[in-house]
Amino acid sequence: MSERVPVLKIGDVLLVSIQTDLDDQAVLNLQDDLAARVVESEARGVVIDITAVEIVDSFVGRMLATIASISRLLDAETVVVGMRPAVAITLVELGLSLGGVRTALTLEKGLLALQRSGLRPADGPADPTAS
């Protein structure tokens, strides 16, 4: 039985923090859960935090792209944050450039990026400086 990754809701944003190296089943579960939660909570943004992930394979890499595509279909923007250098290098070597996925260095910067595009990550008005 694979453990499930919790999906947290902050304002308009869903936060997924991946704390362990995922196996294939956990990845599929996450994909299911997230799609369901985006619809159910009417979220406008998804932040996937992979700070703790040290090893990726092509399956996990594709999962990130797939989740981004699914979320975009459901009108939510995906930001992948906290990717480690080793992970980035692996993905590049695997030929996965995650074209449609936004990225940010840290969770904070990821939330800020979503905020700039007009989302409310928490209660309160959207960033007035947003373009």
Binding site: V81, P85, I89, S97, L105, K109
Partner: protein, 279 residues
């Protein structure tokens, strides 16, 4: 003549009372090194080696791979390593061993047994000479790989240009190994400094071919995956022409002619207000 007898005769020849065959050897080696090593040093080294060689022969062996020659081999290793580090050529190193042949020559009487003995001894010295050359080469190779490693470390600095902007000035030819080091160092620096802008300056890269371009693209994509923007600067006119002629597509990667332009661009992207020229 059996090995034992040959050895015994050799030892007798090499340790004649009142005569010093080693002296001629030392003299000939000293001449060939043309004063690049001190006489006393050569004398000490060779006499030590001579002693070990006679001792090994005394044990009744003429095979350089034999255990009896362990001491000789150790001395030779030390000698040729030292010579390699001091920049002597393989010939100058091997002459120390081969010179011993001529030292033995005047001691022989010319009988058929002596000729056979000389040939056996010559073969032994050949083997030891080859061993010396091999050790010498290995020592040089170790030196080269150590230097290459140092160069790799030296030539890939990552500097902080501004708050949130780091720069990587590349100097010299890019190959896979160097790109890997540059990539890792730059990505780590992005995290350490929390920078969202990186500038790779290739002013010091003499030529850009498809492979180098590929390496640069990979680095930029990796930086993007981590959420940082990467600009390539310092593309000289000649290199711009080459890139276009080769049909390399940098896609949507920002390229600037000079580091100053790239810095201006990076600062604008990170929201810093700049006075003066706007572009």
């Amino acid at each position: 003549m059996a090995d034992q007898e040959e050895c015994a005769r050799l030892v007798r020849l090499l340790t004649v009372e009142g005569e010093d065959p080693a002296a001629g050897w030392v003299a000939s080696v000293a001449v060939s090194l043309r004063g690049r090593a001190s006489q006393a040093e050569i004398d000490r080294e060779l006499r030590e080696l001579y002693g070990a060689l006679v001792a090994a022969l005394g044990k009744g062996s003429l095979d350089s791979h034999d255990e009896a020659f362990g001491e000789v081999r150790a001395l030779l290793t030390e000698l040729s390593r030292a010579k390699a580090r001091q920049g002597f050529t393989p010939t100058e190193t091997a002459i120390s061993i081969f010179g011993l042949k001529s030292a033995l020559e005047p001691l022989l009487t010319g009988s058929i047994d002596d000729v056979r003995l000389y040939l056996r001894f010559g073969r032994l010295l050949d083997e030891l000479g080859l061993f010396t050359v091999e050790t010498h080469t290995r020592a040089r190779e170790e030196l080269i790989s150590a230097q290459a490693e140092q160069l790799l470390e030296l030539s890939t600095p990552v500097v902080k240009l501004w708050d949130g902007v780091i720069g990587v000035p590349l100097v010299g030819t890019l190959d896979s190994a160097r790109t890997m080091v540059v990539m890792e160092k730059m990505l780590q620096a992005l995290i350490d400094t929390g920078s969202e802008q990186a500038i790779i300056d290739i002013t010091g890269v003499p030529a850009v071919d498809t492979q180098v371009a590929q390496h640069l693209l990979k680095t930029v994509v990796a930086a993007r995956l981590m959420g940082a923007e990467c600009t390539i600067s310092g593309i000289r006119p000649q290199i711009a022409q080459t890139i276009v002629a080769l049909g390399i597509d940098f896609g949507d990667i920002t390229t600037k002619a000079t580091l100053a332009d790239a810095l201006r661009h990076a600062l604008k992207r990170s929201g810093v207000d700049l006075p003066g020229r706007t572009r």
